[in-house]
Subunit: 250 residues, 2 copies
Amino acid sequence: VRETDCCSSPLRAAFLVIGNEILTGKTQDSNTALLAKMLCSVGIRLTCVHIIPDDVDTIIAEVRALSSNFDLVVTSGGIGPTHDDVTVEALAKAFGTTVVIEPSMEKLLRSHFGDRITESHILMARVPAGCDLITVDNPWPTVRLRNVWMLPGIPEIFRSRLSTMHKVLAGSRPFVSHAVFTNIEEADLVPLLNHVVSLFPTIDIGSYPAWNNPDYRTKLTFDGLDENEVSRAMSLFVSGLPEGEPLRTT
Amino acid sequence: VRETDCCSSPLRAAFLVIGNEILTGKTQDSNTALLAKMLCSVGIRLTCVHIIPDDVDTIIAEVRALSSNFDLVVTSGGIGPTHDDVTVEALAKAFGTTVVIEPSMEKLLRSHFGDRITESHILMARVPAGCDLITVDNPWPTVRLRNVWMLPGIPEIFRSRLSTMHKVLAGSRPFVSHAVFTNIEEADLVPLLNHVVSLFPTIDIGSYPAWNNPDYRTKLTFDGLDENEVSRAMSLFVSGLPEGEPLRTT
């Protein structure tokens, strides 16, 4: 992973969500938002999320394409012991390496399960040969192969691995994000918004109408890597609003 | 949209989520699960979800690729009146057509806004020339261009458009889905699971460990288009469990 170059060209990340349970609506994905916030906090831009089935060939094709096209890739899901856990195998194949049992992980599993341990438990120690094992704050390593971080899908464990990733990636300049809430309808803000957008090309300005929300009608967001520019864009917008507006800013 | 051919080759759908707000973690996507469930209920398999920024060129490339590779594509987001709403323009460009103001939609807007109407409001009547306008149960049409359904991102409106889509697509055989809840650890189920998986290649069998859940340890799901096959696979699995198991089935 390269260091962030400068504020105008942040690193770009992709997220590959592996799981039939999301594609059938049995589970609602909550890992994307967690990852997105963590990456924003270290100035990395998440620009692509792909949700795909538990299928080896699909994972291989996606991992190869995303790994080439993005600075950093995160996968989630498919690293348990059952037949539908094929991410380790697919990642190894994608990079022309093999699957091995990692001794340090096997040791942790043996110490956890004791006499109860079976071959199936040991499957959880499978990693692609040549991967990095990262243990910042947790004895169980986070696995990275080249620029691909392999995270589990279960949100509680995903979150703990994000904390490890954050410590490794920290030090970059975070994205700054502010918001303005108004009682004005989105369509009525178009001329003012277009004016601000044209003057601040490096700031991402988003407009989100509320629906049946008594609290406000439109939320505007101002995101960028330069705090000063973000504040100037927001101030220009706010100064163009009528009296009594905005309702609030954050 | 073709009719579902048979239970072994259901139609395949892709979902293109357009929105910086998802990629920055400001909003958690909930539309994927809604769409997935609706498609399952009409026997269509969602096999691909891409979440991308509000960027015209990215949308064009994605729409072209997904429209060619899938029977049906659904987009969400980017169809309001502001600068970050670029889906209509991108969809038109993707298929070499132009953006026009649809008279029936302009009429609805004029009737809704009356004297307050501005040019910005009229932008909400933009559609790609040559699109289908589908009004099953709602005066506001749902827009489809070739095999691409263009839905709004706001979950409440997205849901109402899904109801329109459902009525158009209904008649196909739904996917059947059953689940088994057990107190057995996932790794201990591997031999039995592998046995059932090998005997029922047409059934999607998923295994999901619970985390810190006092209610059960592992949930197994059995999905397919043939109710009889799904039930047989589940029964074979259940018959291999020890006494006192499963906790319950659904």
